[in-house]
Symmetry: C2
Subunit: 226 residues, 2 copies
């Protein structure tokens, strides 16, 4: 059963944490991001898309990084505060657009895109309707790329390996005043099943690892229309 209360809190947390988040990202304070940022950027560039949609773009670093490489990139996010930060930094096109709005009317995305990327931005429980909506904004043969916390490393010792809501305390994200954020954990099986339910075919996985410890930091799923 969908927990609408937690979905709402997830959304509200991004407004509250928008400045702290923007500072943390732009100061490079999230150490794992050095690896995972490079992984997603290198992958998208290697896939050589012309038009990219960055869903849940946040303060916009990835959209901007693609823009500087000559890729027509559009970023959308449901947080007004983050989109404000993105627009202020410029370098690409940014729109305020909630996931609910995308689900209700995917034509607002102005597809079709060669590639849609969701970089650590699929944090809610509602996934299949969003993935389905994004699929309709892909051109034929277009690809969806999702980077998420690695289900195995994110499992946590105190949790069962099952889908469910967890709490991010941003403990390692710097000294700003963070509001804890609910987020929805998914197993590997659940990610792949959700893609399939949204009629997306998983074609590849990448598991970026910390070069020093070899610890798997994230899971990247590449999929296309089934």
């Amino acid at each position: 059963m969908l927990d609408a209360h937690l979905e709402q809190r997830l959304h509200a947390t991004w407004e509250t944490n928008a400045d702290a988040w923007t500072n943390a990202v732009r100061a490079g304070r999230i150490s794992s991001r050095r690896t995972t940022d490079a992984a997603i950027l290198d992958l998208v560039i290697a896939l050589a898309p012309q038009r990219v949609l960055d869903v849940g773009c946040g303060e916009g670093w990835l959209t901007r990084a693609l823009g500087t490489r000559g890729i027509a990139a559009v970023g959308v996010d449901g947080s007004a505060a983050l989109i404000q930060q993105a627009q202020a930094a410029g370098g690409a096109t940014f729109h305020l657009l909630s996931y609910e709005a995308i689900i209700a009317d995917p034509e607002q995305l102005h597809g079709s895109y060669d590639l849609i990327v969701c970089n650590f931005s699929l944090l809610g429980e509602t996934l299949v309707p969003l993935l389905s909506a994004l699929r309709t904004a892909l051109r034929v043969d277009g690809q969806l790329v999702v980077q998420t916390v690695h289900p195995w490393s994110a499992r946590g010792d105190s949790h069962y390996y099952r889908d469910g809501w967890r709490t991010e305390h941003f403990a390692s994200f710097g000294e700003d005043d963070w509001q804890p954020m609910p987020w929805y954990f998914r197993t590997l099986s659940s990610w792949i099943a959700s893609c399939r339910q949204a009629r997306l075919q998983v074609e590849r996985c990448i598991e970026p690892a910390d070069p020093a410890t070899d610890q798997t930091l994230s899971l990247i799923i590449v999929a296309h229309s089934a």
Copy 2:
């Protein structure tokens, strides 16, 4: 670079360990197998195939279990000693057939099958040519089902999370005289990439877990012709 020496030792080990293995399986001495045996059997039955090929059937428990449920099941294995055990126990059709022979001439499998299952039997480094050969023995819309040690739990603390040869010492497999067996570890990404290279599309993953500890015991991949 393919390590032919280790591939050969892997093969030879099954001959040496055939009796100990047969005893361990039939006495139910491998505790994780209670969960993983039920998982693969339940899945194959749920997929409702009429003709099943069990590749690397070993002493034949799964082939037999399918046979008793009215499914026309054929088991093949590269170990003469294990096929002898399987044939002696009966209950299904068993053939001695090495993976090299399958790769060289897949028609020896006498397809087409509704489902081909590889239950903890893809232990060597040579994978894509074997998967490709098995694909040709599937009917259109047929499914390949692979159960393997879960890449994340099998990683081991002393190993990097990278493809490579490991050693199984059978420490928890009972007091028989076991010969250590080389086997080839693959990451999740590598499994999915190998399927794709063999023109098999991953449609689903299942991650059977120990009901007591919730520890993920295996990964089951369900794929079909791409």
